[in-house]
């Protein structure tokens, strides 16, 4: 370790250029730390705080977006999640494979949620209190079943 460049010098490497390929394997697998510059961290943090305020504010004015407010809230949350993932979690500068790994998890979550949701959307009326069905006693007084 002692043979390496002093810390300050090393920090300057980290500034935004960040090619992993640049000096990824240059020193025989001994020089791979790429510290993120502080201004990125702070910018991201303030952006996140701003978005949080934004999302709380918009929820107080629900008339603004009407029934789209779920979508708006989720978009804001996703932007925040992306900021955290790309910068705090270094995905923007990480090996592409790690990015693929993490992104794939959301693909499979999507698969799972979409299939299950679409099916229960299609079938759930069978479990609802349909007025013309004669299963009424069970559905009408759910409280009675659990004293």
């Amino acid at each position: 370790m002692s043979a390496h460049a002093p810390t300050a010098d090393h920090v300057s490497h980290g500034h935004s250029s960040h090619g992993h390929s640049e000096h990824g394997h240059s020193r025989g697998g001994y020089d791979f730390a790429h510290p993120l510059p502080l201004w990125i961290l702070f910018t991201v943090f303030f952006a996140l705080v701003f978005l949080t305020i934004l999302t709380v504010a918009q929820s107080n004015f629900s008339d603004l977006f009407g029934s789209y407010d779920v979508a708006v809230v989720m978009v804001i949350a996703t932007v925040k999640a992306l900021l955290v993932a790309l910068f705090f979690m270094h995905l923007a500068f990480d090996k592409p494979f790690n990015l693929i790994v993490f992104a794939s998890s959301f693909v499979f979550v999507g698969l799972f949620v979409i299939f299950t949701l679409s099916d229960s959307r299609l079938t759930s009326p069978a479990f609802e209190a349909a007025p013309d069905e004669m299963v009424a006693p069970i559905v009408e007084h759910p409280e009675a079943m659990h004293p």
Binding site: F115, D119, S120, L122
Partner: protein
């Protein structure tokens, strides 16, 4: 097999035998040197012992089921002896026994059998690595397995478990049996499985030796890699499902309860999102073993390497799209059933590709009917039947008739026992000399393979017939017209048990009577045959030479020493490879 005389002047590699100090089995001794070992080989051996014991327990439960079904009104659990130590109804005992048989077989045996036991031993050795990427995580995952097993066993002693291994709601949230203990056990076992899978993915990704590109990996590693992908992606969903089930039981949160607008079908979706891919966790590593076995014992290059490799990945990914075919009759919407049925058929494509490639590998190969090869061939036969009967069940119309009958039981036993168990046994016989350094009695092994094959078919072929005639599964009694078929099945199960017992005896005898195993008893070309049997503690003294794992041209039979050796001719070197004749300087690889 090649001629006896070895070419003159060629460089011959044979690691010989390990000394006591090198041998991983004897390098240190004492109970603690095993309990706290970080060596992947020892952990693999502990897993092997563990899964074998679980298999024994679950197998005995299976025999109990079969013996109970000897007569239409139930035989075994009606015996007076059961009355003396339990006041449960015979039918309740039956329910608990088949549940525990299924749950132990699935969670404690089949899922960890090949990946955790054989995989742990083989993955690093096949990679020429010293260990898996995270040895401590590996040990942790073994102990998680042990704790999960303890939970399961305590469920047995607490108040039994009678839900079936699937824990379907609403029964599992209302029954008085110890569902929480068992689900906790399955939850913990899930983490064990996740950690093993995670470890293998990382190991295969980052620890391949120079020269071993993705397409120079043995197919067993491809299969393990695909399995690990499923383990990492699917198992957490099982974890949360079981957690929600526990929450449902404890707090009555209502997610799966129609009374609270919940839906039991939701539970089935959650459960099968894991458990269908889990079916491929069980069978994919078996595919990997068969790819190795058939190629090595036919002494012929594997046919269609890339197709087999890609089909493993394809099965792993397609396996995530078909979970709904377990629920065709559960009240899913008809649109969803059609989609799932159509997707189900796509899985048969990569599976068929594999079978065709194995057959093509055997074609004109110099096949040795060694014990592993006997098992491999019986796998081909049994798995094909299991796979093809799966198509009946994937078809919506026939599934309505066959669902929840013995046809299903027979189908998944053909895949799980005829497929995974037989491949597991084949793998154990194949790598046993490597694992313990002793050769077993070949004749005995072949007899066991034959008995297993006959016993298995006698057990489960009648069940196809019964199922198609409407015999429902999970029933403790049955219509007298099925008596003959059931009795046939019971006799078959005893024969199967005998075959497995013979296999066990043969393997155990080898420890005491067996000849010392050479490094390469079968003439394999993958890296695990390049180190001594058993391997030294760090697997390889020097970086092994990486070549084509299925090129048997350089493997020659050394008549005088009765072993296979690798003969290195002059050839072009793979980039990054050290010349074979130059002494390697250290085990350090760059």
């Amino acid at each position: 097999m090649s001629a006896g005389s070895l070419p003159k002047g060629a460089i011959i590699r044979d690691p010989g035998f390990p000394t006591k100090r090198e041998n991983y089995l004897t390098t240190s001794s004492g109970v603690f040197s095993w309990m706290f070992t970080l060596d992947h080989k020892r952990i693999g051996m502990m897993y092997l012992a563990g899964v074998s014991i679980s298999f024994g327990v679950a197998g005995l439960l299976a025999l109990a089921i079969r013996l109970h079904l000897l007569s239409p009104d139930g035989w075994l659990f009606n015996r007076p002896i059961f009355k003396s130590f339990t006041d449960s109804e015979p039918n309740d005992i039956y329910n608990q026994v088949f549940t525990l048989h299924g749950a132990i077989m699935v969670f404690l045996f089949i899922i960890p059998s090949i990946p955790a036991a054989l995989g742990n031993f083989l993955v690093p050795v096949m990679l020429g690595a010293k260990d898996v990427a995270f040895p401590r995580l590996n040990l942790c995952s073994f102990y998680l397995w042990v704790f999960g097993a303890i939970f399961f066993v305590s469920a047995l002693f607490a108040s039994g478990l009678d839900t079936g291994w699937t824990f379907y709601t609403p029964y599992s949230t209302t029954t008085n049996s110890s569902v929480i203990l068992a689900t906790m056990g399955a939850f913990i076992l899930g983490f064990s499985s996740i950690f093993t899978g995670l470890n293998f993915i990382v190991t295969i990704n980052t620890m391949r030796p120079p020269g071993m590109t993705w397409f120079k990996m043995p197919l067993f590693l491809w299969a393990t890699y695909s399995t690990s992908i499923i383990q990492v992606l699917a198992t957490p969903v099982l974890g949360i499902t079981l957690l929600l089930l526990i929450a449902e039981r404890v707090m009555h949160i209502g997610i799966f309860d129609p009374e609270f607008n919940g839906d039991p079908v939701t539970y089935q979706h959650f459960f099968w999102f894991y458990s269908h891919p889990a079916v491929y966790i069980m069978i994919l590593p078996a595919f990997g073993i068969i790819s190795e076995l058939i190629s090595v014992h036919s002494h012929k290059h594997i046919f269609g390497y890339r197709f087999i490799a890609y089909s493993s990945i394809a099965i792993a990914l397609l396996g995530f799209l078909v979970w709904g075919h377990h629920m065709f009759t559960a009240g899913m919407s008809s649109l969803t059933t059609i989609i799932f049925s159509a997707l189900t058929f796509t899985v048969s494509i990569p599976s068929a590709i594999k079978v065709f490639n194995w057959l093509a590998t055997m074609y004109k190969g110099s096949i040795c009917l060694t014990t592993p090869m006997c098992y491999a061939i019986s796998f081909l036969f049994l798995f094909t039947i299991g796979g093809l009967t799966g198509l009946f069940l994937g078809t919506l119309a026939t599934d309505l008739h066959l669902h929840d009958t013995y046809f299903i039981v027979a189908h998944f036993h053909y895949v799980m026992v005829g497929g995974t168990l037989v491949a597991f046994l084949g793998g154990v016989f194949h790598w046993w000399p490597k694992m313990v350094g002793k050769m077993y009695d070949e004749k005995g092994g072949q007899v066991s393979a034959l008995l297993v094959f006959l016993g298995f078919n006698l057990t489960f072929l009648p069940q196809f017939v019964m199922g198609s005639r409407g015999m429902p599964r999970r029933y403790a009694t049955y219509d007298p017209e099925f008596a003959f078929l059931h009795q046939m099945s019971t006799v078959g199960s005893l024969l199967l048990g005998l075959g497995l017992l013979v296999a066990l005896v043969v393997l155990m005898m080898s420890l005491y009577r067996g000849k010392r195993a050479p490094a390469n008893p079968w003439g394999g070309a993958t890296l695990e045959w390049m180190c001594t049997s058993p391997p030294p503690f760090y697997n390889f003294d020097r970086a092994p030479v990486v070549g084509d794992p299925y090129e048997f041209h350089w493997i020659e039979w050394d008549e005088s020493n009765e072993r296979y050796v690798s003969v290195e001719p002059e050839r072009k070197l793979v980039p990054g490879e050290e010349p074979a004749h130059a002494p390697a300087h250290s085990s350090h690889k760059h």
